[in-house]
C-alpha cells in the first residue's frame, strides 16, 4: 500500500507541476537558459572589468622619498603606474579609493642602496579590493625589477657575472594536448554547475509541494486518505 501511494502521489505531483507555468519556468527555463545566461553574462562582465582595471595605469602615491629622487623619478616614469600627489593622509586616500596603493620609502633609501645596507620599502593597500590588488602588484613588480637591477649592478661592480645568483632556470611546459586541457577545465566545472542547476530547478516545486501544500491545507485531505 505504501509504495502504491507513493507512486500515486508522485504521478499526481508531476502532472500538477507540469501544468503550473511558474513551476515549468522554474524547473526548465531557469536552470537551462536563465542561469547559464546569467553566469555567462556575470562572468563576461567580471572579465571585462578585471581586464580594464589591469590595462589602466594604477594611481599610486609616494610617501617620503625626498632623499631618493632617482627612485621617485623612475616610479613617475613607469608606464604601468600613475603617481598622484599625496593630499593629507595617504591611508584615507586608499580607503576612499582615490589611489590604489601607496609606497612608503624609508629615509635615505637611495643612500642605503648605494651603501649596500638593507632597507625596507612599505607598500600600503586596501586588502580584498580588486583594483588595489592590481596597484600593489604593479608596485611589487617595480621594486622586484629595481632589486634585480641593483643586484646585477653590485655583481658587475665586483666583476661577477649576473647569473651568479641565478645558476639555473626552471620552466613549466604543458605536455597535454590543448583540447584535453580545455576538456579538463570544462569537466571540472560542468558537474558542479549541473548540481547547482538541479537544485535551482528543484527549489520552486519543492517549496510548493511542502510549505505551499501545507498553507493550502491539502495535506490534511491526503493524510485523511489511506
Amino acid at each position: 500500500m505504501f509504495w502504491s501511494n507513493v507512486r500515486t502521489v508522485f504521478a499526481k505531483e508531476v502532472r500538477d507541476s507540469l501544468r503550473d507555468r511558474r513551476a515549468v519556468i522554474s524547473m526548465f527555463v531557469v536552470p537551462t537558459l536563465v542561469m547559464p545566461l546569467l553566469l555567462l553574462t556575470a562572468g563576461a562582465i567580471t572579465a571585462k572589468v578585471v581586464k580594464k582595471a589591469q590595462s589602466e595605469a594604477s594611481p599610486v602615491t609616494i610617501v617620503g622619498g625626498a632623499d631618493s629622487p632617482q627612485v621617485v623619478a623612475e616610479l613617475r616614469a613607469d608606464p604601468r603606474l600613475r603617481v598622484v600627489e599625496a593630499e593629507g593622509d595617504f591611508r584615507r586616500m586608499i580607503a576612499e579609493k582615490r589611489v590604489r596603493a601607496a609606497v612608503e620609502l624609508p629615509a635615505g633609501f637611495e643612500a642605503a642602496l648605494a651603501a649596500g645596507t638593507p632597507a625596507t620599502v612599505l607598500l600600503h593597500h586596501y586588502e580584498g579590493e580588486l583594483k588595489s590588488g592590481f596597484g600593489v602588484g604593479e608596485l611589487e613588480r617595480f621594486f622586484r625589477e629595481l632589486r634585480e637591477r641593483t643586484v646585477a649592478q653590485r655583481l658587475a661592480g665586483r666583476g661577477l657575472p649576473a647569473d651568479l645568483v641565478k645558476p639555473f632556470a626552471v620552466q613549466r611546459r604543458n605536455a597535454a594536448p590543448p583540447e584535453k586541457v580545455g576538456g579538463n577545465l570544462v569537466g571540472g566545472i560542468v558537474p558542479y554547475l549541473i548540481i547547482l542547476l538541479c537544485f535551482t530547478g528543484a527549489m520552486y516545486p519543492a517549496i510548493d509541494l511542502t510549505a505551499g501544500e501545507k498553507e493550502r491545507g491539502r495535506w490534511r485531505r491526503c493524510c485523511a486518505a489511506r
Partner: protein
C-alpha cells in the same frame, strides 16, 4: 459506529503552556444517525474530529471508528472515514475526474472499481458537465460537488463533517445539507460539527454541546428542550455553556 471514551487531546505551547483542546470527551454515534457537535469557535470540535479522522493522536482516552481504534489501527479507520470541511482545498490544476481518481487510488481502489464508482458519483452528483474541467475553473457549487465525490469515492461507512457550510452561500450550503441527509438515509454514521444552531436543529438526531473541550450536554433536540425548559436551541446552548443565567435561575 463512532465511540469515544474520555478522549483527551492536550497541546503544549511554549507561551500559553498546556492547552486541553479536548477534555474527557465521551460520545457514541450509531449508524444511520447524525450526531451534531455544537460549539463556539475554539470549543474543541475540529480537534475532536481530527482525532477521529486519525490526523491527530489522542493524548489519553480512546476512540474507535467502525470498531477500529484510531491509534491501534489508523489505516483501517481511514478506510472507513470520509472527511468533508467547508474548504474544498482541491488541486486547481487537476480536473474533477483526476481529483476523484487520485483520492480513489490513495484509498487503494482497483481501477475497474474506481471507474465504476466514478461513473456512479458523476451520475448522482451531476458531475458530467465539468468532469474534465480543471478545478480552478469550477464554480463554488461545482467545487463543492467535486469535493463531495472525492469524499465518497471509497464509499466510507462513517462521514465526518467539520463545519462544512462555513462561508458558503445559501445554495452551496443547501447542497451540503442535502448530502448530509443522504448519508444518513444510506445508513452511514455521521458526525457533524457546527456552530450554526439552525443547521443543528434541522439535521441532527443527537446534539452534543461542547465547550472548552468538554461535552457539557447531550441528547435529542426534544430532550435538550425538556432539560433546559427552552424551545430555542441558541438559548439552550448559551445556558449549557454558562454564558448567561436561565430565566429560572434565582
Amino acid at each position: 459506529m463512532i465511540e469515544t471514551s474520555e478522549l483527551t487531546k492536550v497541546f503544549r505551547d511554549r507561551k500559553r503552556g498546556e492547552i486541553r483542546a479536548v477534555d474527557g470527551l465521551t460520545l457514541r454515534v450509531a449508524p444511520g444517525r447524525i450526531y451534531g457537535l455544537l460549539g463556539a469557535n475554539g470549543a474543541g470540535k475540529t480537534t475532536a474530529l481530527r482525532v477521529l479522522a486519525t490526523l491527530l493522536r489522542p493524548t489519553s482516552g480512546s476512540a474507535s471508528v467502525g470498531g477500529y481504534d484510531v491509534v491501534a489501527a489508523p489505516e483501517r479507520v481511514r478506510a472507513q472515514v470520509g472527511f468533508l470541511a467547508a474548504s474544498t482545498a482541491l488541486y486547481g490544476r487537476l480536473t474533477a475526474r483526476e481529483t476523484i481518481e487520485y483520492f480513489g487510488r490513495l484509498h487503494g481502489l482497483a481501477e475497474p472499481v474506481l471507474a465504476q464508482r466514478l461513473a456512479r458519483l458523476a451520475d448522482e452528483l451531476e458531475l458530467h458537465e465539468f468532469l474534465d474541467r480543471r478545478c480552478d475553473k469550477l464554480s463554488t457549487g461545482m467545487k463543492q460537488r467535486t469535493s463531495i465525490a472525492r469524499t465518497l469515492v471509497h464509499d466510507p461507512a462513517v462521514m465526518i463533517f467539520d463545519e462544512p457550510t462555513l462561508g458558503l452561500d445559501v445554495m452551496a450550503a443547501r447542497t451540503i445539507v442535502r448530502f448530509v441527509r443522504g448519508c444518513r438515509d444510506r445508513g452511514k454514521t455521521v458526525i457533524y460539527s457546527t456552530h450554526v444552531m439552525a443547521e443543528a436543529e434541522k439535521l441532527c438526531d443527537t446534539i452534543g454541546i461542547i465547550h472548552g473541550g468538554r461535552l457539557l450536554a447531550e441528547g435529542t433536540l426534544a430532550e435538550l428542550r425538556a432539560r433546559y425548559g427552552e424551545p430555542d436551541l441558541e438559548e439552550i446552548f448559551v445556558r449549557a455553556v454558562g454564558g448567561e443565567p436561565g430565566p429560572g435561575a434565582a
